[in-house]
Amino acid sequence: MIKYVIKRLILMLIALFCISTICFVMIRLLPMVPPEGVNAAQTKVIEDIWEARGYNKPILVQYGIYLKDIFTEFDFGTSWKIKSTYPVTEVFFPRLIPTILVNLYSLLLAIPLGIAFGIYAAIKKNKWQDHLISTMVMLFVSVPSYVYAFLVQYFLYFKLRWFPDTIYSLADAGGSYLTWKMFYSMIPPILALSFGTVAGLTRFTRAELTETLTQDYMLLARTKGLTRSQATTRHALKNAMVPILPMIISSFIGILSGSMIIEQIFAIPGIGQLYVRAVQQLDYDVFMLDSIFYTFVGLLAGIVVDISYGFIDPRIRMGER
């Protein structure tokens, strides 16, 4: 098991290294443009800094410098446009908090709902409740998340005026992302994110549970004298959870990367919005860190899913052929 985990981790690190190398080369091949709105003297200063940092050296040398800075000082470069001359890490990591919070809230809302709907549909299989839920799931799974965002914004903000259309700025909400006021303004994006997750989870839970409900051990449990609800909760649900839990765990890792388009629509100052701004303003170092981060989160989620199978289901032996 440990050997398998280590093997996967090493493989992941190799992939991460390859991808960041590709990204780095692709990004550094682009022409560097000094920020707009600064005078010639400041531009000269910035260009001198670039020269001193080795931005004009061959790309492989630049990559060596970049890696050395990361490992010795945890320095991912400097933001030149979004927050000029600040280290990228200072621009990037504060923005993780709102991204994580919004996605965490939406997951906390979506998981119980999704599982509950899924169980209900599976128990009522082929009755009208199941058909209704399955139809709704089909609709809600397909509709893109930004359409929910528009609907939520239109009805909750524009028609009913219950919520603000974008989330409050840090200053408005009392200087912290954890205040009640901030949470209140986050409700629309949380809702917009939840619809799709609930639908996806419902579909998955229903499919898994209907399969386990028809297994022979369920029949055995009933013949032993368990009631239907006892048999369902103790036997079917536990076994159905085997594939569901890894999915939930991976979505908890997925909250790190968040949803770019939801952040854009609701003006959430998260990393998705940072990515879009970095691309628009050509702030390469920010773009680079964002890309590495997304890659890392994606790879990590894949590994965690695979490994969690081994922990959750004792029948699965990891790394065996």
């Binding site: 991460l16 991808i19 682009l30 524009f158 854009q264």
Partner: protein
Amino acid sequence: MAKELNINLIPKEKLVFANTGEKIRDQKFEDKPIGYFHDAWNRFCKNKASIVAALIIICIILFAIIVPFFNASGSGTSADTRYMKKTPRNLLLSKIGIATGYETSEYRDTALIQFAAIGIGSREDLLNIPTIGDALAEDDFLQPVKKINDSYSVQQGKNKTLFYDATVDTYLQVGFTYEYVEQSEYAKILAWQEETGIQVLYPMIAENEYNFYYSTSGVSDPNWWYKTNNKGQPVRINQSGNATTIKYNDISEVKLVDNYMRDSEGNLKYWTYSGGGDDTTAMYKVRVLYYNYYRYNHDGREPQFIFGTDSVGYDLAYRMAIGIRLSLILSVCIFAINFILGAIYGSIEGYYGGAADLTMEFISYILSGIPFIVVSTLFQMHLAAKVGPIPSLLFAFVLTGWIGTASLVRTQFYRFKNQEYVMAARTLGARDRRIILKHIFPNTLGTIITSSVLAIPGVIFSESMLSYLGIVNLGGTKTTSLGTLLSDASTIWKSVPHLMLFPAAVISLLMICFNLFGNGLRDAFNPSLRGVEE
């Protein structure tokens, strides 16, 4: 064994051959054999949701093909800035109360007088001006103010201001415009007026102190044809020649006084020189009723846009059609390329296994690790200037899109390559290529068609997301995408919801239908579901 059969007791004449003369052959099947794809088709036809989804997809495709043809010479291809952000309008549908192009809102009295004046000023009988109340009662088609629902006065300081809740036709509300035409064009308009009886040209407005806009900004506004004071309130001229502001408790009492430009003999002037050239070659500045001028320019067709117009005045139906077309073409291209690449890559991986498989798996593992958004951004930055945004988006999709198909094909190859029939083929001397193409690959076909179809909604979503975020710029005069339409609408859609509603609805509909269709295909291509009735 109650009774034993004694063969010897059977009379000899009964022991004859059953068949003597004719040869026995296998009977031919009366029904046709059902192959894999035929079976799949049968199962697909049973799935009603998929059939409906397929029909809707076909309708959307037809919409995307047909609408641009209708618009080839007409409105949609060029932006008409006078009719921008207009709500849906269709004269047939407006009879049952939808797509009327009307807007119900709250207006100040002066604003509503101005709208009503557009209708009054476009009447045939120009100089015989009725009160606004009478004019609204006339039920004139060209009258923008369709209905006054309510009125109330609001005390503002020491003045009372009247407000009206009224329904206004937003297309007629555009009113009059100034146009600059050649003299020959002017003659043409006159001839067209004569021929159709539709009035296009209206008298010019005198540029004097009663012309509200002229007196404040020096520019004449074509809609203020009645005499006003410098606050925009209508005035009348009393016997002594002085202007007095018209007092009213309700705007229906108001009787406007015209302020048309007249020549020395008192006739209305319909044009002025707009400079350049001599008397015979100079351009004319004319005042036209834009609604009728539009009809003049479009062979008598009235402005009607079933989905309204977008933020720069394009017909939204046309823009959506070319957006859908782009999305679908992109999807089909990606479908085809992913299908081919994935099939080849997966076959080689799966069939040869071993070191080749390990290496190729590692390559695809690394490629699949790159987030799609990063790939598309990098491709846009590097390639968009050279090959254009659409091909670079296509490359980005292709770079990682085939991995899913490849891994499916690989799994299927692992399943089938050690089966007896493959071994039999190999024993008979079939080459690798033949075994791959003839014996194993057809087994994977159903799976990969399904997975490729199910990837189409993802393509549509990614495209719309990227262009909404502005990472990919697909907008232009000739091309647009559904995501670009959404992003154009994103800042203004709260006041003009239809700009967001229709593209978002079409995207949702496309994604729902492709998902349903793909699910139907998946069930159809799954032979284990044969004969299963739910």
